[in-house]
Amino acid sequence: MSSFSRGARQALTIARRDFVATVFAPTFLLFLLTPVLMIGFGIVGGQSAATATDSGEAKQRLVVIAPPDRIALLTSTDALLRRIFIVPTARPLLRVDAEGPNPAAQAQALFERDSDDVAAVLYGPLDHPHILYTPTSYGESLFLEQLAEQTLRAQKAGGPARLSVLADRQPVQRGKVSSSGKGRVAFFAAFGVFFLTLMLSGQAVGAMAEERSNKVIEILAAAVPLESVFFGKLIGAFGSAVLFVAFWGAILAALPRFVPPQMAAALAELGAAVGPVFPLLFVAYFTMAYMLLSAMFLGVGALASTQREIQMLSLPITVFQVAAFGFAAYGAARPDSWVAIASQVFPFSSPHAMAARAANSPELWPHALALGWQALWVAITVTIAARLFRRGVLKSGSPKPRRKKALA
């Protein structure tokens, strides 16, 4: 048996042990259902935040101080203007106050009263209005300015009636995926690879620590080359990650059947330039990203002797990974730039960047090249991790050539 096939067999033996130990542990169920907890907490937190925001926004008002004869015109113009918002309450509701003897003082006083939550106030003549607004209400001040302009136009036109009939609207479907749709898919592909990798690869960090605490490492090191041990650990961890992704992927794949027709039409706008091969490429790049990041985590975890050290060493890797994703996302937004090429070549951002490229560009050959390049870096990372472990933990390693000569 060649040393490669023996190493592969040994790696798979270790992978099998790790996979079974992970998947058949009760904690795996908790791991599998983590997204439910995430989504659940997200919904609860989102609802709470929305409730708090809505209650605050509902109290806010825009105020126009105007003579009584202008109130009706202002109100009807405001109603017309709000038609451009899908949600009419995108801006605070309007209140029109009757103008007093000193409109400037009246406007200023509105901001001092506890009973009012005024975002912006308009007073003065419509052809030269004055607007006061709070520091966070610049958008509201623009709206009031537009309200004054439109009210003045309506006044000059003799009333607020529409000059045209309501438009005859008809939704259309594009014949092909839009470029913005590709861009969105590119971002989501890079983000998806990043998110899944970040969420799942962390489990590799403790893999070698387990061997060290159980003292099994000596048995493994005697029977199996360390590279095979590391690859076995990676494959075992990847197996459980694949199970996780397959489970949630199946659920997500069924979701479009349940989304509203408008959203389904919006989803139809999305697509990847490479076509139906895209899911396969996404899986391939997820695999490579997982292997690369896990190999780094595994190497760091192998060198650390305490949980505290593992935690401290994991953070820089995570930050590095976030930076690599940022690099890839920046490149994905500029598909023809040198940054895009650089992010596709740099091994640790390459899976994210190439997943994005699959959405933006139809050629397939760069993907074959990239997958080979990334696989090479997985091997390099694992080899470096194994060597560091051999030298640092097993206290082994060949002497430097100079020392070797002296010892001969």
Binding site: S3, A222, A223, S396
Partner: protein, 306 residues
């Protein structure tokens, strides 16, 4: 290097920092024998075994394991029990043994089947489907040992196999080791307990301070020290001391001394002729422990690092 050797090494060197833990060790283990590596704590036994197995690389010297220059190439026909025992606590005994066999190329199914039989033979059949964490330390150690022989290796390397075992399990282990030798395997084990080495070893090395101080058969080792005579005279009269060898020491009414190189018969004739007579006489072979202490030196034993 001879093909009759299961293990051979010349000039093995290993340094940790500035310390030469193994300093030019030569070792030759003939096939089919039980070979002991003896030495005090910190002598370099474990490091030597780890280098022989390829767990760590030597800084100097050469080694051959079952005819292969690189130990990894022989890993499927080698079994190893490390000094620091280790098993996955969540694994069942049968699976743990099968896993250790699978690492050495034994199919899982065959490993499980053999594990059942090995556990039965070792008196652990009832625990075959128990998890390792449920076992006592001694039982777990036996399970690990069974895992190191499940693939029927040509060479079995055991590092301090008796440590932590009670007398009953020590006896079981001795039986298992001789059974492996009888099967045709070569056994290389390290220990600092002389009684086991004396009972089991066909040949042995004594290592101290990273160097081999002695290499040979157990008989060769015992021959390092002379036989001891324990003589009780019939009459403990004046002049007796003058007839006895210079190293004779009195113990109550008896005398203990090394048997002269030319034999004890001449001395006995003189003692009888002088009228001291013989009330009791026994000739004792030296113990391996005494040989070990003589070779290693009491000072080295006391200074041995933990």
């Amino acid at each position: 290097m001879s093909s009759n050797l299961a293990v051979s090494a010349t000039g093995l060197v290993k340094r940790f920092g500035d310390r030469r833990v193994v300093d030019g060790v030569d070792i030759a283990v003939p096939k089919g024998l039980i070979y002991g590596v003896l030495g005090p704590n910190g002598a370099g036994k474990t490091t030597t075994l780890r280098m022989l197995l390829g767990i760590i690389e030597p800084d100097g010297g050469e080694r051959m394991l079952l005819g292969r220059a690189h130990p990894r190439e022989a890993s499927d026909v080698v079994g190893y029990l490390p000094e620091e025992r280790g098993l996955y606590p969540g694994m069942k005994c049968r699976e743990a043994i099968a896993f250790l066999g699978a690492l050495r190329g034994l199919p899982w199914a065959v490993g499980r089947e053999r594990a059942g039989k090995l556990l039965e033979d070792a008196g652990l059949g009832h625990a075959a489907d128990d998890k390792i964490r449920k076992l006592s330390k001694g039982m777990a150690q036996l399970v690990q040992l069974l895992g190191s022989v499940v693939h029927e290796p040509e060479l079995l390397v055991l590092d301090e196999p008796f440590s932590g075992l009670d007398p009953v399990n020590q006896e079981r282990l001795e039986a298992l080791i001789t059974a492996q030798r009888d099967r045709g395997a070569t056994i290389l084990f390290s220990t600092h307990v002389m009684a086991h080495a004396e009972r089991l070893c066909d040949r042995l090395s004594i290592i101290a301070g990273g160097k081999v101080k002695f290499e040979g058969s157990v008989d060769d080792a015992l021959g390092v020290l002379p036989l001891k005579a324990h003589y009780t005279p019939h009459h403990n009269a004046d002049g007796l001391r003058a007839l006895l060898p210079a190293d004779a020491e009195r113990e109550n009414g008896s005398w203990r001394f090394a048997v002269p190189k030319d034999g004890i018969e001449g001395l006995l004739v003189k003692l009888i002729d002088a009228g001291h007579g013989i009330s009791g006489l026994s000739i004792e072979r030296p113990k391996l422990h005494d040989v070990f202490v003589r070779i290693v030196g009491k000072k080295a034993l006391e200074e041995a690092p933990e």
